[in-house]
């Protein structure tokens, strides 16, 4: 068994479907190579395990609760002028008069896209169920937030869970994202709809590799003695074996073998 065969076989195992049949060559190799046999059975178990997982879904009222929370956090803002929900995307843009025209265009496009964009239909639908009809009493500030702060293009965590496509919707449509910003004039609360949720990065190692996160820079510190003199200590982020990190190792010849 050479390593190339192992590598190719494992590549094939990785690319094959669950319960899929391997090529005869690969099967022959697996039959004779215990490492690859273990690898195959491990991969099969892993796939079966993944396949047996229940789909993870958010509670039905998750979006409602999220919006309610945002609203509650925004209640301290007494002054909520018109268009507060979608006028500004960043403070810099707010201050730049030259960008106002483009923002206005963005508003227009947002309105158009809100009605066209299929993946956000569910969000819009929920919103509409909460919105009063045309004859409703003029809304208070909370309703303003509901209508304006949660943008049409915002993908809630429920939509977002493990769905790369939904997340890419946000990044591929920056204008939609711009309108999603809630202007915050003093509250420390965060708008959960501004950007994509933090993603959990899945990285699969190549065959026969195990990867771990590691520090990327040395730990640098300095020590001051009683006389005010300082010393700098730099510890490498990664060391191998018993690499000397501190200067206190006894030489081989001065072992503890004769001290009891």
């Amino acid at each position: 068994m050479n390593r190339k065969e192992c590598r190719l076989t494992r590549q094939e195992i990785d690319q094959s479907e669950l319960n899929g049949r391997l090529s005869n060559q690969a099967l022959a190799h697996v039959a004779g190579c215990s490492a690859c046999r273990d690898f195959r059975s491990e991969r099969t178990q892993l796939r079966e395990l993944v396949g047996s997982l229940e789909p993870v879904t958010a509670p039905a009222n998750f979006e409602m609760r999220l919006r309610a929370r945002i609203t509650a956090e925004q209640q301290g803002n007494a002054r909520q002028p018109f268009f507060a929900g979608f006028a500004l995307s960043t403070p810099a843009m707010a201050g730049a008069a030259l960008l106002l025209a483009s923002l206005a265009s963005a508003v227009w496009f947002v309105e158009q896209r809100r009605n066209l964009s299929t993946p956000i239909a569910s969000t819009t639908k929920v919103k509409e169920t909460q919105s009063p009809g045309p004859n409703a009493v003029p809304a208070g500030p909370e309703d303003k937030l509901l209508a304006g702060s949660v943008p049409a293009g915002t993908v809630t965590p429920a939509d977002n869970g493990g769905n790369q496509g939904s997340r890419s919707l946000i990044s591929s449509n920056p204008k939609v994202n711009q309108t999603s910003v809630v202007r915050n004039t003093g509250s420390k609360s965060r708008d959960f709809g501004v950007g994509p949720a933090p993603s959990i990065r899945h990285s699969f190692d190549s065959v026969g590799q195990v990867s771990l996160a590691a520090p990327d820079k040395p730990l640098v510190l300095s020590i001051q003695d009683d006389h005010g003199a300082t010393r700098r200590i730099s510890l490498p982020p990664v060391s191998f074996g018993s690499q000397r990190l501190v200067d206190n190792r006894f030489p081989v010849t001065q072992t503890s073998a004769r001290i009891w």
Binding site: T90, Q209, L212, A213, L219, F240, W260
Partner: protein, 560 residues
């Protein structure tokens, strides 16, 4: 529903009107809304953000966000079926606070911390990659973790001879301290030669050998039956397996450190103890050795484990034998805790013709030597450290310990093994020959314990204080002193950074945590090194501390 109305209007009007209306409205809105600086939550620059109670900008937040934005490096361990199956790679990751603990204990850095990136204190600061030997039970792994000192609970540190001297002889506290498992499990990842990740927990450190013992917690490793080692002879070929950095062709990637288990050819240069039946250590010689090979696993040509590399000097590597490692693992597993090296408090050498000069210098006469050399049994004590159990038992230089309980002492290694088998804190009976004495004497000694020295010198917290006073260790706290500059970065005005909390201690029960900055205790500012910080022994102490930049007060109650 202004937004809804606007939406309807926008649809109804033509684009031009909408654009103008929107422009005007936005202008009005912008002028109404933007005179004040943007709020903290949306500002990236630290100077415009919140101000600390001391009036200093919270630079820590800005640094934190910068640090978080940098993707971490990666350590990628490449499988290699050619490696002996019992050799595993261990990645031991330590936070900044543990590295400070490591520097404090192992590096003896007791001075004040002058500068440090505050974000580094709580984040991953170091990854140590070293080989381990998976023993044939499929569960136990022995490895020479270089930062083990940062992982053991500090009450496991027994007294140094100097500290013992400060204790009253015979004090029970001076003899034994309870053994505790580590407070929090170290971040250890074990990777087998075929690239499987195995979860393991840290059981403890063996003080005699300096080896850490791990136990696999999940699926056991495959049982690897090793043949018994035949007699080791000088010149025998040996392979040393130890992880090393590599760069696979075509796989260079920034921020990725590739690791493979390297193999170094060596030959047995000499055997440490020719007189002993047990082969405790041996020395092998290679064409070239790097420090990375320390901790590596030595195997014979058949793939059987000879031992673990303990130290190197030039091209020589000293190896702790497999049998010694097994014994160390048994000790630690039996106690489920670190096992200190038994401390007697003597320096000596085995009795053999080479010790003639030492015997004569320590009171023995020439005509008495043939009898001693006849059997070559015993350990000649060349000095007795004051304040140690040996001194308390009135052992003295020139004494020859010929028997430990019922066992004859045939070599220095066997003496170590016998003491270790008995264990720290236990009573032992020596049979000694003393120059000038007509008959051998029996002496009872209660062994103390120490992790010092094996390869490293461990700095132990001071427990010896004047009557009525105690150090912070008495409350279960181990600290590093901070300058005002570092303290202010952590939101404090000065004080001591808590780097370790003893489990079940008064401090732990009161809620003091690692990473807290102690500003004062009982109203006294904590601005000096912890070693010198003394507290009156009393039932309650009020500790003012800063945690996550918030000031708190904790009452630490001690139980007599």
């Amino acid at each position: 529903m202004r937004f809804s109305k606007m939406k309807t209007n926008l649809k109804a009007k033509n684009g031009f009107v909408i654009g103008v209306a929107a422009l005007m409205t936005l202008s009005a809105g912008a002028s109404a809304q933007t005179p004040a600086p943007a709020p903290a939550a949306s500002v990236q620059t630290p100077r415009a953000s919140t101000v600390s109670p001391q009036g200093e900008p919270e630079k820590i937040h800005a640094r934190s966000s910068r640090r978080a934005s940098t993707p971490p490096a990666r350590v990628t361990v490449i499988a290699d079926p050619a490696v002996a199956p019992q050799v595993v790679t261990i990645v031991h990751r330590l936070s900044g606070i543990k590295m400070l603990r490591f520097l404090l204990r192992q590096g003896g850095e007791r001075d004040t911390l002058y500068t440090i990136d505050p974000t580094a204190i709580t984040s991953d600061a170091h990854a140590s990659i070293i080989a381990g030997w998976a023993l044939d039970d499929g569960r136990t792994i022995a490895a020479r973790l270089p930062q083990a000192a940062a992982e053991i609970a500090f009450q496991e540190f027994a007294f140094s001879p100097a500290e013992l001297a400060a204790q009253s002889p015979g004090s029970p506290m001076a003899i034994r301290r309870p053994m505790m498992p580590p407070r929090s499990q170290p971040d250890l990842t074990v990777i087998t030669r075929d690239g499987k990740r195995v979860s393991a927990r840290y059981v403890g450190l063996d003080g005699l050998t300096g080896l850490s013992v791990l136990q696999v917690t999940g699926t056991a490793l495959p049982l690897i039956a090793e043949a018994g080692i035949r007699k080791i002879v000088e010149g025998q070929r040996v392979q040393l397996f130890a992880p090393e950095r590599t760069t696979p062709a075509g796989e260079e990637a920034p921020g990725v450190i590739y690791v493979r288990v390297g193999e170094t050819d060596a030959k047995v240069a000499n055997l440490a103890s020719v007189n002993s039946e047990k082969q405790d250590r041996l020395v092998v010689r290679a064409a070239r050795l790097s420090p990375g090979v320390i901790g590596g696993v030595a195997c014979d040509e058949a793939g059987n484990t000879l031992g673990i590399v303990e130290a190197i000097e030039g091209n020589d590597a000293r190896i702790v034998s497999a049998e010694t490692i097994r014994a160390a693992a048994r000790r630690v597993i039996e106690r489920q805790a670190s096992v200190p090296r038994p401390l007697l408090g003597v320096r000596g050498e085995p009795v053999d013709p080479q010790s003639r000069a030492a015997l004569l210098a320590n009171g023995w006469r020439e005509d008495q030597l043939p009898e001693l050399f006849e059997k070559q049994i015993g350990i000649l004590l060349t000095s007795v450290l004051p304040g140690t159990p040996a001194a308390a038992a009135k052992l003295r230089a020139g004494d020859v310990i010929v028997r430990v309980n019922q066992d004859e002492v045939k070599s220095a290694e066997e003496f170590s093994t016998l003491l270790c088998d008995i264990g720290s804190g236990e009573q032992v009976q020596f049979l000694i020959k003393r120059p000038g004495a007509t008959a051998p004497l029996r002496v009872e000694v209660k062994l103390a314990g120490s992790f010092e020295p094996f390869e490293y010198r461990f700095e132990m917290p001071a427990f010896a204080f004047p009557r009525g006073w105690q150090g912070l260790e008495g409350l279960g706290i181990e600290t590093v002193a901070l300058t005002a500059k570092v303290a202010s970065q952590l939101g404090a005005q000065g004080g001591l950074l808590v780097v370790a909390i003893q489990r079940d201690s008064a401090a732990a029960k009161s809620g003091v945590r690692e990473g807290d900055v102690i500003e004062s205790i009982d109203g006294r500012l904590a601005r000096v090194g912890a070693r010198a910080f003394m507290l009156a022994r009393q039932k309650k102490h009020v500790v003012s501390l800063v945690r996550d930049r918030e000031k708190k007060q904790v009452v630490v109650e001690t139980v007599e």
